[in-house]
């Protein structure tokens, strides 16, 4: 079983100052067990840890790129 921690950060910099535009942190549980057809992978227990800024891009970033 694995605890999976996901963090997304978006920031912009002009070379001197860095400004954070969005941050998102969350966790979920991944369980892998034997299955007659191979392996069974289960994801559950999703928890939001922190979120701030413009979430539009953050949500997109959680999908495969």
């Amino acid at each position: 079983m694995a605890l999976v921690e996901t963090e997304y950060v978006r920031e912009v910099s002009d070379g001197t100052v860095t400004q954070q535009l969005a941050v998102l942190r969350m966790t979920h549980r991944m369980r892998v067990s034997p299955h007659p057809e191979g392996l069974l992978v289960q994801f559950d227990n999703q928890k939001a840890i922190a979120a701030g800024g413009d979430m539009t891009d953050a949500l997109g970033a959680l999908l495969p790129w």
């Binding site: 999976v4 950060v9 978006r10 912009v12 910099s13 539009t56 790129w65």
Partner: protein, 196 residues
């Protein structure tokens, strides 16, 4: 992957998550957004997403040899409405760290794929992202995607995945050039423990 099960709850959550967007005044076409969400949250859409995610995390590294010279190639991406973007891609194993699973030390490998959009495609990207921006003195000067994944050598179980996208641009302001760097980073860490 053979199939994904119990998608109803995920479909419900995706609908709730994007509902405010479809009602916002800036939404250009709520019905188009709804259509996209319906496709994305369908069983086939979710299966495709999960398959892509797993391939990104594990599958694509299976063929990359350990401790070898970098593998360089050119790739053409057509994600932007069919507009082709050419990139230089360099892939290699960059480290062999020790990972921890439960309390045991496991031999791992860190693979990296570094992709840079070629200069002639940057103009195409700029015209797509912000047509007219060049008239305002804005120029995209670089676009890089760095994909770094740490996997167990024996089992290919993932321990860490960091995906960083960087877009660099310059803007002419009152006769001086201002550099801007826009960075998006997604980090995923896996901590393995014995189930109680």
């Amino acid at each position: 992957m053979l199939r994904i099960e119990e998608t109803e709850r995920v479909q419900e959550l995706v609908g709730q998550m994007y509902e405010p967007l479809s009602k916002s005044p800036s939404a250009q076409s709520p019905s188009a957004l709804q259509q996209l969400l319906t496709i994305m949250a369908s069983g086939a859409g979710l299966r495709s997403l999960v398959q892509d995610d797993w391939d990104h995390l594990v599958g694509k590294w299976l063929v990359l040899p350990l401790d070898s010279a970098p593998v360089e190639s050119t790739s053409v991406s057509t994600v932007l409405n069919g507009i082709p973007l050419r990139s230089m891609v360099r892939q290699q194993m960059i480290d062999r760290p020790s990972c921890i699973r439960d309390i045991a030390a496991i031999e791992c490998a860190t693979f990296e794929s570094r992709s840079n959009i070629e200069p002639e495609s940057l103009a195409v990207l700029q015209n797509y992202l912000s047509p007219g921006a060049s008239d305002a003195g804005v120029r995209i000067t670089g676009s890089e995607k760095v994909d770094r994944v740490t996997l167990e050598i024996g089992t290919m179980l993932p321990h860490e995945a960091i995906l960083t996208r960087t877009l660099q641009s310059t803007t002419q302001l009152s006769g001086r050039t201002v550099l801007t760097q826009n960075v998006q980073r997604r980090t995923v860490r896996f901590t393995y423990v014995q189930e109680q």
